[in-house]
Symmetry: C2
Subunit: 462 residues, 2 copies
């Protein structure tokens, strides 16, 4: 561990959530006169005053030297020397509503995922492997709405969506409406790895997205383990299902179709924690990956696919290249249909190429999500996202010549009541976790909370 930089060198720029959230002016009263975003976050701490040794992007005139401008071979990852491997993980356990009573359990799930991922990153594994490891841990937690303990559909079944994207190869794979598998993310990852082997026998093109029974049978043919419905169902997921089933029966008894569809019914479906877990990773090679996994909405129709299985919507990861100065990755959570229509993961990742990551994410959440032209019919826009971006720093760093420094900026933003996140770098002794909450006085689905931090990673190249 002697090569590790003192964790106290990791700079954290956690902004007090109460200072960054402002209830947006009622849009109906503001026509053609949108509030200037820069005036909304007036209480925000000036980043330049806090992140003291943050590199001024404008001073980095050279193009990033480390990242691939040309695609490399898909197989194999350059693994640095042991003890020098660095990396960063940011995870989420859903954007929705996290009760205070269960806050500790959510945080524990995030903490475990961070620790497992960081242990792998220290061993020099690639971002794709580490992000899968983080997701498996989150899926295995019975408290999260993914894998074991997922929300049940209207037939009382566990049906999961998951996807993964490798920023290095830009490859993506997904599973949807998958039953009988403990870790859907492992099937998604297997699809991705198989597709990188080239064409199937007789020149067939390998799939990137498998659903339902077909996805299950494919996983079985690959020798993956199956799981019983009972093993995936927890006491809590079954209790929520029974409660919701009664609410639905009551609602169905109402004669007036208008009333039946009302979202103001006291018998509205209880969404234990709205949606989805996910992670974004930076590995020691400066590559990023992103993944997402979800049990979907409670009482959904069988076969319903949410953003966690849809390209561009659940996760996104893209390496730096000739046009992108930053490697960036994101993973979303919330109302799947709204996250699909707005392609939020891709939008947030692309926004990370702007100079000010915090401002870019805030504007994206406002313009491309809350006020998206694709969601004008929605009275409430519910979602959250975790994002990271990374750039190699061109300045000399303190550890010694021959070493490299990566500047990592990480953020989370949500329009839901709360979002649970955790993060950790390989230089940290333990993960940080947080349940970010909108203040009670603002409108859920119309306001954004945004937080984040910055850290620098030193990687010895010899």
């Amino acid at each position: 561990m002697e090569d590790h930089v003192d964790p106290s060198l990791v700079i954290e720029d956690r902004v007090d959530p109460s200072s960054v959230i402002e209830d947006r002016v009622d849009p109906s009263s503001v026509i053609g006169d949108r509030v200037d975003p820069s005036s909304v976050i007036e209480d925000r701490v000036d980043p330049s005053s806090v992140i003291e040794d943050r590199v001024d992007p404008s001073s980095v005139v050279e193009p990033p030297r480390y990242f691939d401008n040309q695609p490399r071979e898909h197989s194999g990852t350059g693994v640095p020397l042991k003890n020098s491997a660095q990396g960063f993980v940011l995870v989420h356990a859903g954007a929705g509503f996290h009760s205070e009573s269960k806050a500790k359990e959510y945080k524990t799930a995030c903490r475990k995922a961070c620790i497992k991922a960081v242990a792998e990153l220290r061993e020099g594994v690639c971002a794709l492997s580490a992000v899968t490891t983080a997701l498996v841990e989150l899926e295995n937690s019975p408290i999260t709405n993914a894998g074991t303990g997922s929300n049940l559909n209207i037939e009382g079944e566990t049906e999961c969506d998951a996807s993964v994207m490798d920023g290095k190869t830009l490859n993506f794979a997904a599973v949807g409406a998958l039953q009988g598998i403990k870790n859907p993310i492992l099937v998604a990852r297997k699809i991705l790895l198989e597709s990188e082997k080239g064409k199937l026998p007789a020149g067939r093109i390998p799939p990137c997205f498998l659903v339902g029974d077909g996805a299950y049978k494919w996983a079985m043919a690959q020798g993956m383990a199956s799981s019983t419905a009972a093993a995936l169902t927890t006491r809590q997921s079954m209790a929520s299902f029974k409660k919701n089933k009664r609410k639905l029966e009551l609602a169905d008894q109402l004669q007036n179709p208008q009333k039946r569809r009302s979202s103001n019914l006291t018998s509205d479906i209880y969404q234990p924690a709205m949606d989805t877990v996910g992670a974004v990773i930076l590995d020691s090679c400066g590559q990023v990956a992103a993944a997402v996994s979800s049990g979907g909405l409670a009482m959904k129709y069988p076969g319903r696919i949410g953003q966690a299985a849809v390209y561009g919507c659940g996760c996104w990861a893209e390496r730096a290249n000739g046009t992108n100065a930053f490697s960036s990755a994101s993973s979303t959570s919330g109302c799947g249909e709204q996250l699909v229509r707005t392609m939020l993961a891709r939008e947030c990742t692309c926004a990370m190429q702007k100079e000010d990551a915090h401002q870019a994410l805030l504007e994206t959440m406002q313009d491309k999500f809350i006020y998206s032209p694709f969601l004008t019919a929605e009275d409430s826009v519910l979602g959250g996202v975790i994002v990271l971006r990374c750039q190699e720093s061109s300045e000399n760093c303190e550890v010694g010549s021959g070493s490299r420094a990566f500047m990592v900026e990480f953020l989370w933003a949500h329009t839901t009541d709360s979002m649970c996140v955790g993060y950790m770098s390989t230089q940290d002794g333990k993960p940080q976790t947080s349940i970010s909450r909108l203040p009670p006085e603002v409108s859920t689905g119309r306001s954004v909370a945004i937080e984040g931090g910055v850290c620098r990673l030193y990687n010895q190249s010899t």
Copy 2:
């Protein structure tokens, strides 16, 4: 019919395909020195010299008056007076390989789809309805790889993907891996219409994407008709399946995994016509819609989802608004996995906001598809797209005061051997059809053929 403009006034700008295609310089020999696209299409006819009374976009200083800057109510479409309703349809019957011997059948399918859609447009139906009508006709043709006669999967089953997007509401719906339904597009459209009614009983969010058994059961619950597997299977689709099954068995007998995956095997799977049918529509209100439907790749795994079910990849439609001068729509066909990774439908539609539609589509097919960073591992990039864009003309038109003129530009482009298209305006007596072909001397999957036309529609507002 007396309000109809003489069909001879419709201006067509069909460019000779042999003049617009150039085999691109071998990318491996050109590193960092891309050929200037403007130099590649040097043989292209100068559009300004052919489209004689095309409105100079720079002279249209007023914003489009007809298109919605603000979203309207989702229910109901402004239906103009009978006999004055105008519109335009462009359909495709797949980008892939269309044999000369079956050219007539493909063209007939496109012709029928155009005639049905135009008949509805003349009655004043909205773009969403007309695009569904066109798709039903294409799905019902046994020659196309959609609905009846679809490619069979490796289990010998028909499994279909379809999706539809309404440019007016920006709403989207899809079905994937759907069995037992004659017209998958009708299920997609039903999902879209149901979602516009607001929340489901007990405040549940309506789905936008259903797959597999769940999608089938949902359709049954909506009272839609089911179909037997036998009714969806044609003599030809079964013959192709049996032939492919034998090829696959031969390939599986090869011991060397490398050889088994080779795409140069003489026993490669026969893809009857690679993929997908689709349509784009402009209605008399100036609104656009797009749809796509596919049986997927021959011998695919059950549960495999292609671009026809994925948001942004199979079809896209967007009305003009404050930032978009044109309403535009597109529908794709080809290798589903490649069309997913490049989000080709959305990319092509967004490119339509540039001044020169032809040039914008050519550049998109080159930069965002053939040379996409998301497809660097592919030796051949196979796809096609149909696109239309529309803008209200501000000039006085000849029919009389009070009438409106729409300028419609429509294009198709493909990297596959061939693409079959048809198009018709409400002012035309009959549809035009064409099988566009890459010249034999250029490389399939590395060259683009691009064609299209322009027409003007006059709509009487009184």
